[in-house]
Symmetry: C3
Subunit: 664 residues, 3 copies
């Protein structure tokens, strides 16, 4: 466990480098990320490379005992590159190039971009593959989906589809239902990306295009991965993804990498923070799920963000430290702060770093120094620990993409609907992984699989096996609607899972924002919205029915539970409020023996990191502006303040405690 910072030597006068390195060292910083936007400085003209400045910076960091992570600079093609090779620029649906300006102005499929990427990454990797300070690499920076329609994309997309259907155009026309509105292709040359700029096109084409552009990122990254693996065999490779949800196929993006990294900017504004300590927890649990292992934070909030948008609030005292601890608590091995000092130039002038423009370290830097000292103090105790969970939520970027293309009802939002489910678990102190929907589930007692919209038969089969083998599987509305080509199944919902759920949907009401009631078997009344399936159980028992509302189905089953093999399949035919998820999942967790933590106060989060050799450390965070208390189930030892045998924890605003069992 260690703390790092992002540093841009190229932004500062060389006379400042050493004093910065010295202060890093004194503050306990152990890692520095460099170079990820510096292409124009590394290769000022095509084929002319200049590494002396970076040599000097890395050597300096080495002298101060700092480890270095190098970012490949391919998110920011230099001006000469886009000027000399206009095919680098992505082309939008109306044929306009995305000009340079911000960043990310490159088509992942551009031949020129790929060739110059190869050149710069080879040079970098060759130069620093054996440098004693360098420990690893970040590919590019915050990949984003490019809905590019350039010639390279057009022809690659066509080739991909042709291969997918073995050159059988009729098969393509059938699989995508192009017959609707006379969209049938009569020649392969007609198959192309969905130009025109309209979001209203064949949904099978639109979904496949998104898959293609996801794969374009992965292929582009693989060029870099191959080079770095070859030239830097002892270095790790990662990539820094950013705020969710973005329709990136992250599990596949990270497959060839060593671990995932995340850029974590929790909102600093109290008015916008309602779900924040929990939505942040969801992000971290999701990032941990990309590879089902520990991750890095490659950029952690250090001051008010701001650029061309209004700046955010100044972080409240304790905020920076507490959210850095949250990163560790949910599985970070390193937390790299963005950035050492606020930039005085360029577009991100107001994306504040640890130190302000004035170069006078202030309140935020002092808090950072405290954090660094604490982390370094407990690092060895936490070596080799990781988060282990008995519950999981299944996430699918495919569903997210498909729902974006066809919103189901007003307010229906796949990602937002995950949040109350996740919160319901986190607030009960239940450790939960958020993993890809096709992962193996054997290690979990309780799995929530919301809205499995695009459901192929193989995945349905493996979910059934999980339940049959004794698992508890919770499904929800909009499951089993379509196949992988975004085509509706012609069978009663939930389609391939109807038998396992012991229920069919006879009709549905896309209620949107209209209020409906959900009445549990014990008479408790909850709110639900967005969607109401009208259920007809075959073998399932009814857990809740619709109450009063604007619909016509009071008394109709809304939630059912079915014994299936040795396990249970619950079907939630609507989008309930968090309170219902809390009661339902709490009850299921109790039934299947998932460990919980009693009555956590709002905003207090408890997680456990354990090691194979039996070490266990609980992280207790107060992510609010009020003091909080936590009763402990046994006498414990508090690592940060050294108190032992305590029966409870008093947490100041944004307070943090690390606990071990008394005997450990």
């Amino acid at each position: 466990m260690k703390i790092g910072v992002v540093y841009y030597p190229e932004h500062w006068d060389r006379s400042m480098w050493e004093q910065d390195a010295r202060l890093m060292k004194e503050t306990g910083v152990r890692v520095v990320r460099v170079a990820e936007f510096a292409w124009s400085r590394l290769e000022p003209q095509e084929g002319v490379f200049q590494f002396d400045w970076l040599d000097e910076a890395i050597d300096l960091f080495h002298r101060y005992g700092l480890e270095v992570v190098i970012g490949t600079p391919t998110m920011t093609p230099p001006v000469w590159l886009t000027t000399n090779y206009p095919d680098v620029l992505p082309i939008d649906g109306q044929g306009h190039p995305q000009q340079a300006g911000v960043r990310g102005h490159r088509c992942y499929n551009s031949p020129s971009m790929r060739s110059r990427t190869t050149a710069i990454v080879e040079k970098l990797a060759a130069r620093y593959g054996n440098h004693p300070a360098v420990i690893g690499w970040q590919t590019d920076n915050e990949f984003m989906l490019n809905l590019c329609h350039c010639e390279a994309c057009t022809s690659k997309f066509r080739d991909r589809v042709k291969e997918q259907f073995n050159g059988d155009l009729d098969a393509l026309n059938r699989a995508w239902g192009t017959v609707v509105w006379s969209g049938e292709y009569s020649d392969w040359s007609q198959v192309r990306t969905p130009i025109g700029g309209s979001p209203y096109q064949n949904p099978s084409l639109l979904l496949e295009f998104r898959r293609f552009q996801n794969d374009s990122i992965i292929a582009f990254q693989q060029i870099q991965v191959d080079i770095v693996r070859r030239l830097c065999p002892n270095h790790f490779i990662t990539h820094n993804t950013w705020t969710a949800p973005i329709p990136l196929d992250n599990p596949r993006l990270y497959a060839p990498l060593d671990f995932a990294s995340f850029d974590y900017y929790p909102n600093t504004s109290p008015d916008k923070i309602a779900t924040n300590p929990y939505s942040g927890a969801l992000l971290l649990d999701r990032v941990r799920g990309f590879k089902r292992r520990n991750y890095w934070i490659m950029e952690q909030l250090s001051g008010p963000p701001g650029a061309w948008m209004p700046m955010w609030r100044a972080p409240y005292p304790g905020f920076i430290r507490a959210f850095s601890w949250q990163s560790f608590a949910r599985g970070a091995d390193a937390v790299v702060h963005f950035r050492w000092r606020s930039g005085t130039v360029g577009a991100e002038q107001f994306w504040h770093g640890l130190i302000d423009h004035s170069n006078v370290p202030g309140r935020r830097f002092a808090e950072f120094a405290q954090l660094t000292e604490e982390v370094n103090r407990v690092a060895s105790l936490l070596e080799g620990t990781s988060v282990r969970s008995e519950a999981a939520i299944l996430y699918s970027h495919e569903h997210h993409s498909a729902f974006q293309l066809q919103p189901q009802s007003e307010g229906f939002d796949y990602y937002e609907n995950l949040k109350p489910i996740h919160r319901a678990l986190v607030k009960q102190g239940i450790g939960v992984d958020v993993i890809d929907w096709r992962e193996s589930l054997d290690s979990y007692k309780l799995v929530v699989a919301p809205a499995l919209y695009l459901l192929d038969e193989a995945t349905a089969e493996s979910l059934k096996q999980y339940a049959a083998g004794g698992g508890t599987l919770v499904l929800s509305a909009r499951t089993g609607v379509k196949n992988e080509h975004n085509i509706c199944w012609m069978q009663p919902l939930p389609g391939p899972l109807a038998e396992a759920a012991g229920v069919v949907v006879t009709e549905y009401d896309p209620v949107g924002h209209d209020a409906q009631q959900l009445v549990a078997a014990d008479g408790a009344v909850y709110k639900c919205a967005q969607w109401c399936d009208l259920l007809e159980p075959s073998t399932a028992e009814v857990l809740a029915r619709y109450g009063e509302g604007t619909g016509f189905y009071t008394g109709t089953p809304a939630v059912t539970s079915n014994r299936y093999g040795k396990g249970t399949v619950v079907y939630v035919g609507t989008v309930p409020e968090e309170a219902y998820w809390s009661d339902l999942l709490g009850s299921l967790a109790a039934d299947c023996g998932v460990e919980r933590w009693a009555n956590l106060s709002e905003g207090v989060q408890v997680t456990l990191r354990g090691s194979d050799d039996g070490r266990k450390v609980w992280f207790v965070l107060n992510l609010t502006r009020e003091p909080k208390q936590l009763q402990l189930p046994m006498a414990m030892r508090s690592l940060l303040d050294g108190r032992d045998g305590i029966g409870g924890v008093e947490l100041e605003p944004y307070g943090v405690a690390l606990l071990q069992r008394g005997q450990e």
Copy 2:
């Protein structure tokens, strides 16, 4: 009177066709619409036609006694057509082609589009002109105004204007006032469509461009009409227009057709339905007015619509049946339901049909079956009946277009302002036609002519004659402002009708949303908004004056009534709330002997269909979710439940009753 369905044989495996046809037959369906999007299946490559599948489908329907309406597939040019002939694609004001994707991606003036349209329609008409199952044709589908600027449009527009002004460029410059802001043309080559994408251009040019594009639709349709008339002399021809207001010149679009058709999708959401049973009634009355005769519903809502937008609510029990009866009640001869079964593929996957994706008929289908049985039971009684009205509202797409180009004040909306006038009549059970503003008015006792903004002298003259001959004519603010070139008259408002109204507008206040009071002669106080004319009567008497408000004209006349010849001209110088229209029009209706129905409950609509041989059937609809009652003025017979001699009707939610006089 009959029930039909929309069916897409090309979307379904042939193995399903016969079971579908059999179920239609069993359910009482009599008409099937086919083929209107099937161009790529009918002509898979240029000049290669494939009718065998459609032959088979139509033959099948014939075997089951079903009549067939064929839609020409010209709204959806196939991919080969737009690929081979890019001139098919409309060009927007900034020069971008409207790419294929959704539908409607064709310029009505494109030479290639017209030539391939001729080919496919000729082939279709030749093949099915004598098929015993086929009864008629639908041209294209839901024509929309294309504000296209392609070369063909540019040159046709120039030729049109040149012809209009007999080649006299000075006359054009004068008529359009191009001198403003140096817009004068010095050569005919400079005259073109208003490119640039800015809505802020010469209003005379903008209005003429809209007229031109309206006429482009009509000319494009005429190509098809000429072919079908020649090859299918025994078939009807219609077109299906859709939700109002759209700035189409419908009376002229329908002039060469046999009857109008409408695609009717009343909103299923209770929260969005406030004006719905009345705004739907307005639409139907308007469609009946296109040709002043009975119409078809070519698409009637059958389930929750949805596509790329969020789905609507599930129709409440009774909703589908009740609104189908509303269609008949206001003049439909046939109601064709869209669609038989929800599509599993393509952009309209979630535009639900009578049967769900699962192909299991459910609640909605059962309701449809009930409707079909009822309609078939009473059809012969209603043979030859039509709606006959003593009151009319004048509508003008020209005014609608002109007001869109130049909104008069905040909130001023020509079409929305028709609604309270129409509601005020419908809620009193007054039959009302909504007809083109230039139609003959001889058959009406009461005519409301709101906001006759672009008023030529000939139309003014015929309105004066109507009033002089004994009619009651109600005018409103923004009448007589401009001539047909969108140029202001240089005379006091209401311009050419000032003498007939016996009043002039000395000043006006575009009050927008600011509240004003309207005080009737009896002291009753109403709200008015949007616009306040300050009136100075010459021969008219004052019916209402302005009360308190944010204006400075308390006590100034706002509404006047003038005896003119044997009739009356009322001028309403503001936009009053519905209650005022209700009291004013109720009083005028009483004065001129228009038949009314006493005290209808909110949401209950009563209409009369009568025949030349004296048959009369009243349709009583409860378009709400609450039970309602209606007292009858005499003992009557209820056709659907067979009860006779009843003095009142109890209507369940969405209940429907058809009544005849006891003695009939």
Copy 3:
């Protein structure tokens, strides 16, 4: 002091001209503006000039004793010009030409535009340079910033930057911080305008591009100024700017002109008028500050504006007269009303003039006639008077531009934040100039300099000298942040003014809309928002501290005051509500002996015009719909009603009084 009207002879039949001129004369009008959109009439084809009609019109005005101002017609290039020379059209960031349509469709740098501008202006100036009726010229009309990217702009921009940095590309790269995100130029050919349409680019480039386009306007205007100065040596030259804020560098635009002019359209809607009599006052004070001398109103509201947007409300009785008097009260020498009669044709049909389309003079014209009579009556008394102020607010279009590029926090708006400061002064009857931030300040006792964001050292020095010399200087948050290249200073805020203010900002909180309290030394509590600097005084005393709020800095200094030399520097580290500004500035004004007017009622404004020979006239305006009273400090004489020795003024709604001291 005189009244004028805008008249378009080219819009009206010649038969109407003389009756119009006669009525102008009878009504007391003294000036007519003509020709500023008439290019197509003056030069109907390239090189073919037609002045006979304008000769006739001007001769006619001369016969009626009316003076004429000619507008050059270059805002509206005729159709032949844009057709023959497409380079005239500006090109947006995505390469689309801005087509003709409205107006302003010309690139200021287009060679063709400049060459045809030279031709038309030379012809006009030569023809009317000696006409006895003509007194002056208006260049173009309401210049607007064109963010054009055409070839001419691209190459001029590159040349400008190259010259600015003496051909040293490294210096440019350093000065603009292009290293961020690899934006470094490796060749001058890469330097160009910020194409792409994205607002998210290098802030130094974006700011310089705005400066360049400002200078393009100035250079374009200079072509015209040079011609008119040469050919019409006895005429004045002005330009009519319009509603603020527009990011035009007005002080430099007006530098070569004789006086500023403004087009003044105060909002007529009571619901939208909240700050209107004060925001209008700010505009007029700003226009007076462009050249620190009297100005003209070249267009004064005469009826409800409206065009393609909804029309505004009818002006309340007295509104037109009162706001015309407001124009005079704050420094107008002439008020020209827009327009004589509402146009019947073209895009501005509903931008109403003094006379309506009907050509029947009505209520508004009668009010105008009263105004004209009054102005003519008192004109000689006011000859040579001007507004003289003891307080000033510093305004900078550079700051405005820079804040637009990088909004600091939610709700932070440089121009809107000026309003409460200005209102606080106006409501206390303190005369205030709003002048450029680099003007000499010697004549002022009190100077408020809000948010001096881009602060070069020279300007900082002159501000310090002002304070050191005895001035009272009020600074506010976001001062001293950046240098002129939009690059952050690397020193504690307020940067170059920190020493003079005796305070540094240790941290800031961009609070946006989150509420904070500001507590003055006397315990009074105010609201503040948008931004909170946390202050650490060195030599300054604390005037106010933060109270309760969503921040963590209760008790921290927020406002300080520092003795500096013989003067005082106050630093307001937040954006307080008006009440705080009122108390703070009232107290400072008292301290430094600025004259004030006691307790003005809301909406009552008092200003003073004085002459070098000691004449003084107070203008008292009631700009509300309620009657108001004003107590006078001595017996005075009321010029308009002739009453003498009065001790108070009763003002009817929109009432106006001009007062002199009893003895004068």
